[in-house]
Symmetry: C2
Subunit: 553 residues, 2 copies
């Protein structure tokens, strides 16, 4: 590749929310920013996780100088255990807390010894081939989030990561305005900017506002207080602990990932817990209800999480009791609304007082709203802009916003996963398209569930399946056993004797009409399939998958 | 039943959103308020519609004096075609537009001649057994919405229906404050009140605010304007037509239900269209783009609707072209967010300018917010309150709101579908529980898809199915053909030769271990099933449904 250009190849997170992964190429060097996962939507039946398709990198592994991570959320680091082996384990660079979160993950996948995770701090510089990378502090709903600068010989590339500007963040470390202004003053060739919250006008409020809500709730809670939030939202956990200390309560962390992350954050110094404040979940009942705060997972209504189990009266240790107050300190991720509502309903059913975002200020977003996006663009003043992190409409709206600030239309490209963007000192344009898309993780399989399997699962989920099994004489082609009909998910078989008897008759008729002359069983199967399909649709207006099986003896 | 009490038996809409149906019993008389449907959620695989379980009424049909309908939305009238036959077609009472919408529906189901739909107007009184019913005008996102009063010998029952207070509604007919105050002054024993929007503080804005948004968009649209909304939202269609007239554009209605409802509303006088304004969809291209407004269905991203087809470049007549402006004048119904977002993304991809609720004031809710719920409670001043229309948390919040206005706690009951509430002059309490729940409509079947079929569909959707078919000698029990393995939705079979060969070996092993001694085939099948299940889980961490089929010859 020429050294006059930079290539940006988004492999995830553009035209979708999740599995963020950006490839930056300069000359012979490849630098990757973030390797995230996406959680499956309701069309991806049975899939556990979705990771980026990285086949574009398959013949370029030797050119990868490093993977830079902006922060420790799943949609930025969750793909690492699956994709690192495919890329021969390139070195990772991440801030301290992010490294801690990555290591928890690598340990689970028995990969700790295979990969180096280098710790960097905001302001640090790392040489990667001909490029020099630099990290600047931003605010987000997790501490230690950074944006990334890549100084290349032809100009500076900036990736904001997920960001907002919080003048009074919980950890006391606001975004580094000085660094941003300096980078902007030195000149930015191309900026990749977070578009997640472009649809919201104004500013995202400071995390600080949550303290007031917590104060009001803590002051009036007659019994225990349970707070569910993301296990990675360390700053929120800190807010809960601070409130507990103010109101002289003890804190128990509940839920595997909450306990693991909490421990790690305490060890690394990201969570300040006064001695004697933390108690074990087993010891909750040794205290009076008004002395207790429980911090747990389950803010998304995830079926196996602590709060969901509590709401379903299915938790090993904790049952809702009179006087309990529950706070869901998180927004439902799009698609999770129903599960979250179900949890809230069940908590109310058991008599808890429940506070959640729709009725109380118990959460703020981790992403900047329109005015913050304008601020970032004004600090960095990039020559070119590539909106990242968002569905297509969000990328377009971010582009329009930048245009309204004076960036010329042809200096902004709205691109999606796989579009190869070439940036020179003078221009930005899409030059090619790389293979990209979703790779599904299902159980132990990575990539073995594809469109055909998914399509079958969808058909099965709609109208079920009906199998017609028949054993025929190899010589004569005449049926000697069956047809047996078995169905699942189509109709309640015990109430459908008549229908199934007619179906059997149809099969025999279609066999008889062949006069035993056909030994072309695929032809026979097609005939059975078509006959049954038509018959069943006429009788039920349903289209189960039909599977004729013919055995010769 | 005693004539000292009234019974309220909610069969739908309490503890859920949708399929509203309330049974009111006094003495020998039964009066039903609304018979709605609910749209299936993602757990109800393959189900088309959900209607209330009305088995409680099966032995009480002769006591039903009438079905009173509050307004023409699907969640209030959609169950009629399915439930009317089960109840021997009792007479229906509805306002004029509502009757029109019901008749469209009854005609589709060939039921027009089997049922009487009596037209009532706000203020009308209808005698039903020992009770007298009365209707009062409310505002909602459809014209001709009413609340219902039942004057019983022991006191007055009020059902608000869906409502908001709009001082400047599009049809010029605000809620009837005078009637509400009179009813309140005369004394209300029990009120059933809409809880849908209890989570929103303040007031719902007037429909009028949408005119300003339309004006701004119409004034700047360089080409065609397409507006998607609910086909039943006649007042919104009127606003579009008014805006089109102001900006000298022609209007085409597109989409089957939009055309049907529009026609009906014009005939009944609910839609005022100046002569020459309406054009046919086929004629759109005979005009200049800046002369055109298209009103279409698809505001919920429904796969077969006009707007979705347009967004997917799949519409018979209409393709997005440069300069098109699209307005989604509706809120996504919970659960539809992803489909709606997909539509918006696709419209942007094709170059349209798109306005939707998240970024523009192009829709207001049809339900009152907290201050309006307080106003209704203050006008009616009921002795007892039963919050209706809402998930459990919403009913609880409505109860808390009423309590904050001074209604004693024991005068409010939060109940769910099936709870039988008995109201006397002195008290309100739950006395029993009626069978209630979801009846699924799937194709031609009403109620034949139950929990077993649904559970199977769910299992099939997650990990697919694997069938193992074997033919054995009836005498010896030894396999003479197979085992053949067929799977769907489990794994891509062409890439799984090795796995499937091992699976076949396992089956043969487990048969051999039986030494051909067992002719208890259910035992053999269980053994095959368990062996395979364990083997496949170990190899793939997936749990397909396993179906062993043994044929004897």
């Amino acid at each position: 590749m020429t050294t006059e250009k930079i290539r940006l190849v988004p492999l995830g997170g553009l035209g979708e929310v999740g599995k963020n992964m950006m490839v930056v190429e300069y000359g012979d060097d490849i630098i990757i920013i973030d390797v995230g996962v996406m959680f499956p939507d309701e069309e991806m039946f049975g899939v556990d996780l979705v990771i980026p398709d990285t086949s574009y990198l398959a013949d370029k592994k030797h050119r990868i100088r490093g993977i830079l991570i902006t922060h420790g959320h799943e949609d930025h680091v969750g793909g690492l255990p699956y994709i690192l082996p495919m890329l021969d384990f390139p070195p990772i660079y991440a801030t301290r807390l992010t490294q801690g979160l990555i290591n928890v993950k690598l340990k689970e996948h028995h990969m700790l010894d295979k990969v180096t995770v280098n710790v960097v701090a905001p302001g640090d510089q790392v040489t990667l081939g001909a490029c020099m990378s630099e990290f600047f502090r931003v605010n987000h709903s997790i501490p230690d989030a950074v944006g990334i600068v890549l100084h290349t010989p032809i100009g500076t590339v900036v990736h904001t990561g997920d960001y907002k500007f919080d003048y009074t963040p919980v950890d006391g470390k606001p975004a580094d305005f000085g660094a941003l202004a300096r980078i902007g003053n030195d000149g930015v060739l191309v900026m990749m900017g977070d578009s997640t919250r472009i649809e919201s006008a104004g500013y995202t409020p400071s995390e600080r506002v949550i303290n007031d809500s917590f104060d009001k709730i803590f002051a009036n809670a007659p019994g225990r207080i349970m707070i569910a939030t993301f296990a990675s939202l360390i700053s929120r956990v800190q807010q809960v602990i601070d409130a507990a200390v103010r109101y002289e309560r003890f804190v128990a962390l509940v839920g595997r990932s909450m306990v693991n992350n909490g421990q790690m954050a305490i060890e690394l110094g990201y969570l300040n817990v006064p001695k004697g404040t933390l108690i074990r979940a087993e010891d909750i009942n040794k205290f009076n209800p008004e002395q207790i705060v429980i911090v747990c997972t389950g803010s998304q209504g995830e079926p196996t999480s602590a709060l969901t189990r509590i709401a379903n009266q299915d938790h090993r240790q904790i049952r809702i009791q009179a006087g309990d107050t529950v706070i869901l300190s998180a927004t439902p991720v799009p698609g999770n609304e129903k599960m979250v509502n179900r949890t809230i309903n069940n908590l109310f059913r058991q008599g808890a007082e429940v506070y959640y975002q729709a009725i109380s200020n118990v959460h703020v977003s981790g992403h900047g709203a329109q005015e913050e996006l304008k601020l970032m663009l004004s600090l960095l003043r990039p020559r070119f802009l590539v909106p990242v992190h968002g569905e297509y409409r969000q990328l377009v709206l971010h582009a329009k916003l930048a245009y309204s600030l004076g960036i010329p239309e042809d200096h902004i490209t709205v691109v999606e996963d796989g579009d190869i963007v070439e940036v020179s000192a003078e221009s930005i344009k899409v030059v090619d398209h790389a293979r990209s898309g979703n790779v599904f993780v299902d159980g132990l399989g990575v990539g073995d569930v594809g469109q055909i399997v998914l399509r079958d699962r969808k058909v099965l989920s709609q109208d079920g399946i009906l199998m017609a099994v028949i054993t025929v004489d190899k010589e004569t082609g005449m049926p000697i056993a069956g047809p047996d009909i078995v169905s699942r998910g189509f109709i309640y078989m015990r109430d459908a004797d008549e229908l199934l008897a007619s179906a059997r008759d149809r099969i025999l008729e279609s066999l008889t009409s062949l006069n035993g002359h056909s030994s072309d069983w695929s032809f026979v199967k097609d005939k059975i399939k078509n006959t049954l399909s038509e018959f069943l649709y006429e009788k039920t207006r349903r289209r189960p998958m039909i599977l004729p099986i013919v055995m010769e003896v």
